[in-house]
Symmetry: C2
Subunit: 239 residues, 2 copies
């Protein structure tokens, strides 16, 4: 498969401290798979400038796209935009179109466009704004990095704004079979099947449900009829 | 704070494809925070040997501990143990004490200790076994890396086996205040407070609940009375 590849960078102390359970990784992973983009790696780092800058440099150098989540709000711990600018050696300042979006929004809602809120109009030079229909303050794309908010409803809306601009490959299709036998009994014949269908990705994901041990066998690939063939053999082996 | 630092490596295509929502990161993050170990970074990589080996090398070089999740079962896609051995230049083979654990378990449950199940007794030279009271097949620790299963119930049991052997620092304490105002109104005074209490970590985590915009302000640190002082000022500012 030569689908475009992607990485995600989740930024936030609240995830690493165990305070918040991340939801954005799971959402983005599904959305990219549907689009035919292979999510290859996710990193989670704290609100630390050096950690963010070096992760952005490393990930943007080896993947077609990098998606970030978190750290673009108005408070002192929101440092993502500045770190992205630094990673690409770009200047950053208040951008007029972003400022105008915020001004119109806060005028309508009767809130003051104060200094803190103006920080959300700080965008690195050369970036394209990402539309935020939920709370207006935009994300942005620069080079191959797409910078989005951490609040899940806003993150989802921004992903919906970005994805139409990204060329995907063949959508990755998958089928699965639930086998109620120990993985140790499944492993031998499954390994042979995986060799025979080495053009597909065949994974075994063990579970325990109320004392029943088993595994979900998942067959993934871009060739639907080929997956069907594997599933027919799989069902024959484990029925 | 000079608490020991940790990183986590989650291994598994099923997380990156969006099929499974990871639960182990959230669990480990909370457990390490309670123990006074600072989780600094998490990476998620696919079942790919090069990706696993290079992540292990990078993370183990800069953190006191690395915890891995996934890829130590009996099927063809379980390659973690071999990758860890490769990362440390260690030999790997079936170890007698691990084999004996499996043999006793499968004899009791009437299952065959076949070639696939024996793979779970393959342990790099020099490693210490991690007890698995749930499904017996052990994890292992080698150098500063702790290798555990991906099934959440087994992962939790292995974390419980490992943590008593890890020296933590001062537990990180936290208190939070829910403020029902837009983050843009909170940001100014909060930034000043964060400067005054620069020895603490003060984060703002915005939320939207049924149309109410606000933020949870979280104050974290190892000095309880100092956190109390910050919370008193915080409550005064935002009441």
């Amino acid at each position: 498969m030569s689908n475009p590849t992607a990485a995600m960078l989740v930024i936030g102390d609240e995830i690493l401290s165990g305070r918040t359970r991340d939801a954005n990784m799971y959402y983005l992973a599904g959305a990219l798979t549907d689009q035919g983009v292979d999510l290859k790696e996710v990193r989670v780092v704290s609100d630390d400038a050096d950690a963010i800058v070096s992760a952005i440099k490393a990930l943007s150098a080896v993947h077609d796209h990098v998606f970030t989540s978190g750290g673009i709000g108005p408070t002192h711990d929101d440092i993502t935009a500045d770190c992205i600018a630094k990673a690409f050696g770009a200047n950053i300042g208040i951008r007029e179109d972003a400022r105008a979006l915020l001004a119109a929004h806060y005028e309508k809602t009767g809130k003051e466009l104060n200094e803190a809120r103006l920080r959300m109009a700080r965008i690195p030079d050369g970036a394209t704004l990402i539309d935020n229909p939920v709370s207006i303050a935009p994300g942005f794309s620069i080079e191959n990095v797409h910078v989005m908010a951490g609040v899940p409803s806003v993150f989802k809306a921004m992903v919906a704004s970005v994805l139409p601009h990204i060329t995907g490959g063949a959508p990755v299709l998958s089928q699965s079979l639930r086998v109620e036998r120990g993985e140790g009994d499944i492993a031998g014949p499954l390994g042979l099947l995986a060799e025979e269908f080495s053009d597909l990705s065949i994974g075994s994901y063990p579970f325990q449900d109320n004392g029943i041990y088993g595994a979900n066998i998942v067959v993934r690939g871009t060739d639907g009829p080929r997956i069907d063939s594997a599933m027919i053999k799989l069902a024959r082996i484990f029925s």
